[in-house]
């Protein structure tokens, strides 16, 4: 899959601290790319470089294989985390203005907006002032402003903050629809459940550096501990030394529940074989780390045992 965006060894130095320190990452075309990291890691600095709000001190960024140029601005849609609109301006006028700043002509902007207003069923809002809309309504307008010029690359910084579940779902569906149409979406967040749900690639930035990147599967494989969750009736006497029982307890349904780790080259089949000879198996599945675990582990050191065992 070709990359729509390539970031090469980008360095950004502010007076006293280095916001980005040799950051490189690739965003494949048509993906939903999770840009993760704790507060202050450098996500916003990187986004500001991609959106050409600031320029990198070192390194460079390619959009569709070309070095960033001012004309690229119209191919990018950006929804910042701290967002706002002109409060006194009418919804329609405001969107027309923002669309024109993105390079659309007034007529093009009008046509595109009509489609969105129909889609979101918000035609009656056209002549309302922003300040007369609820916060959720304003967020919708803001989303329309981000995507109306049909950019190739959309950058959403914490897009679901402030949305009620209904609107959050609406936006989520829109994001998926845009992706299916071939738009690439960079999704900056620290809400891991939405990363789990939407992203197919991620990069984790911590202390100004990329500490983890790749497709969802690659990253998860990297953090897999080869442990399996088993539920069964009966008593598990003992297992060969290849298998380590990390935890054991009796769950609400009076079933035994154990987490077993494979050591070395031990095979899953051997484990299953050992188990069925001793107990009556109810369920068996591999423990796959959640992004939440991965995030905490990568950023904050070891994940507490409790968290893995809950899988």
């Amino acid at each position: 899959m070709p990359n729509i965006l390539e970031v090469h060894d980008v360095v950004k130095q502010y007076a006293s601290h280095r916001a980005l320190d040799g950051v490189s990452l690739n965003v494949p075309k048509g993906s939903i790319f999770g840009l993760l990291g704790p507060n202050g890691a450098g996500k916003t600095s990187l986004i500001r470089i991609i959106t050409q709000i600031t320029a990198p001190d070192e390194g460079y960024v390619l959009l569709d294989g070309e070095r960033l140029r001012p004309e690229h601005i119209q191919h990018i849609g950006y929804l910042p985390e701290e967002r706002g609109l002109y409060k006194k301006m009418k919804v329609g006028e405001q969107l027309l203005y923002l669309a024109q700043l993105k390079g659309l002509s007034e007529r093009e902007a009008m046509e595109k907006l009509k489609i969105w207003f129909k889609k979101f069923d918000i035609k009656t809002w056209w002549t309302k002032s922003i300040e007369d809309l609820s916060k959720g309504m304003q967020q919708k307008i803001q989303f329309v402003a981000t995507v109306m010029h049909e950019p190739k690359l959309i950058i959403l910084d914490e897009p679901f903050s402030g949305f009620d579940p209904i609107n959050a779902n609406l936006i989520k569906d829109e994001i998926l629809e845009l992706r299916d149409k071939g738009t690439t979406i960079i999704f900056s967040t620290h809400r891991m459940e939405s990363v789990e749900e939407l992203c197919d690639h991620i990069a984790l930035i911590h202390k100004s550096q990329v500490i983890l990147k790749g497709s969802k599967k690659e990253v998860k494989d990297q953090f897999k501990e080869h442990s399996y969750s088993v539920r069964y009736h009966g008593t598990l006497e003992s297992l060969p030394a290849d298998f380590d029982i990390i935890s054991h307890k009796i769950d609400d349904e009076q079933l035994n529940k154990a987490n077993i780790r494979l050591i070395g080259d031990a095979s899953v089949n051997a484990l299953v074989g050992n188990l069925i000879s001793q107990v009556e198996l109810v369920s068996f599945h591999e423990n796959i780390p959640s992004f939440n675990d991965i995030f905490i582990k990568a950023v904050g050191g070891e994940i507490p045992e409790e968290m893995t065992s809950l899988q």
């Binding site: 050409q52 203005y97 923002l98």
Partner: protein, 447 residues
């Protein structure tokens, strides 16, 4: 360029459609017209005042017939103790009592004026003048100068001033008209720069606190956004200025046509009516003063026409734009650096200082339009717009205007550059209290 224009257009339309703009634009000419009206009314009305009686107790006996009654005041010589006259004064409120002691010649400070209420400075001045004049006459005649010489020496000097134009012809110059025009232009410019400069700052602060800035700035370069805003507000200023001009002219013309009179003929009519009522003795006196009043008015009108109006107008537009650009870019930089009005205060003060100083320099320069203070302050870009506008009606050499304009252009290019450097960092900076040291660092930040 397209983006600057888009920002400009939005800025202009939003501001021009604001209720406050419409109200201010419509109301100001009405206020000016009303102000005019009050002046005319006051001028005309003063002739209709009730007559005042001023009683004079002249112990010295020197002032018989020296206080001449006129249309508004009657002087009445009485005798008798001051105390009883004072008691009478209480009953008739309008009257004044003048007491001239017998030793007035040797002790001129002994003159006393009593009133039931306060004594107006005009009245006091008038009475003092009469006494002073008379005392001087007496002294002069004691020194052997005849009454005739004294009268002849009382010449009324009223200079007509001329300025030499380029062709060496004399032109009736217009000190009063130039004074009025210069002061009005300077003051208008001062107000415009202050109001619209602060307007730019408000606009920038609004965008920053709204957080729309980050959305906008991902589509528009900070410099383009800043310039669009500054130029948009300038266009609003020019619109307001032009509308005021048109409306003031319209209202004035309408009023004149509606009431079918011209304010000068009105004044004359009142004067004529006054003259008819007055004693024949006074009539001559009044006609004389009236003709001199009309003369002054006519000369003022004539000289106002001799003012280089086109030049004043063009220079006004130029200096408004130049001065406004110089200051508003600094205001924009402040708006971008702070997060609320209170914080803005500490930074706006040093910017307002030269603006306020310039109106002060303008006042001084009007009295000495060719002095060196006037020259230098009309060259320094921070004061030149206001000071130069005050000087131009008096006639300023072309090279001085040209130099001042070039310096002003350099000045605003400089401040705009400086402001843009601060602006681009400031608009994205939140939660940090800025000071001058911080601001100066921003200037040297890389893109």
């Amino acid at each position: 360029m397209r983006n600057i224009f888009l920002v400009l257009k939005r800025e202009y339309l939003v501001r021009v459609r604001k209720k406050s703009f419409i109200v201010m634009t419509l109301l100001t000419p009405v206020l000016i017209a009303a102000f005019y009206g009050i002046i005319i009314w006051a001028a005309v009305g003063s002739f209709n005042n009730e007559r005042k009686t001023i009683q004079v107790i002249d112990e010295s006996g020197l002032f018989k017939n020296k206080f001449k009654s006129d249309a508004n005041t009657t002087f009445e010589f009485i005798s008798g103790p001051v105390a009883s006259a004072q008691r009478k004064l209480k009953d008739k409120e309008q009257n004044l009592l003048v007491f001239i002691p017998s030793d007035i010649m040797t002790r001129p400070k002994g003159l006393q004026i009593y009133a039931a209420k306060n004594i107006g400075p005009m009245q006091q001045n008038r009475i003092e003048k009469i006494v002073q004049q008379e005392l001087r006459n007496i002294k002069l005649s004691q020194a052997g100068i005849t009454q005739q010489v004294i009268e002849e020496a009382n010449m009324n000097v009223d200079a007509q001033t001329f300025s030499l134009n380029d062709e060496g012809k004399t032109q009736s110059s217009s000190t009063i008209a130039a004074y009025v025009a210069g002061y009005a232009a300077a003051f208008l410019l001062y107000i415009f720069i202050l109001i619209y400069g602060a307007g730019v700052m408000q606009g920038v602060m609004e965008e920053k606190s709204n957080r729309i800035i980050e959305v906008i700035i991902s589509s528009v370069k900070p410099f383009h956004l800043m310039m669009g805003k500054i130029l948009g507000v300038a266009a609003v200023g020019l619109t307001q200025f032009l509308l005021w001009g048109i409306l003031t002219f319209g209202v004035t013309t309408a009023t004149q046509t509606l009431f079918g009179f011209n304010r000068f003929t009105a004044t004359q009519e009142v004067l004529n009516k006054q003259a008819e009522q007055a004693d024949p003795e006074l009539k001559k006196e009044m006609e004389k003063s009236q003709s001199s009043t009309l003369n002054t008015v006519n000369r003022f009108m004539e000289s106002a026409q001799s003012l280089p109006l086109t030049q004043i107008f063009i220079c006004f537009i130029f200096y408004f734009l130049g001065g406004y650009l110089l200051y508003s870019s600094l205001y924009a930089a402040i708006g971008a650096s702070v997060e609320n009005q209170q914080e803005a205060g500490q930074f706006t003060f040093p910017i307002m200082l030269p603006i306020i100083a310039s109106i002060f320099f303008a006042q001084l320069s009007i009295n000495q339009p060719d002095g060196s203070l006037a020259f230098w302050t009309s060259m320094i870009p921070f004061t030149s717009p206001v000071v130069m506008m005050a000087r131009i009606p008096f006639g300023v050499p072309a090279w001085e205007i040209a130099l001042s304009m070039v310096l002003l252009v350099m000045g605003f290019v400089g401040t705009t550059w400086l402001a843009a450097r601060i602006y681009r960092i400031g608009i994205l900076m939140y939660g940090k209290k800025v000071n001058y040291k911080e601001l100066s660092k921003w200037i040297f930040y890389k893109g």
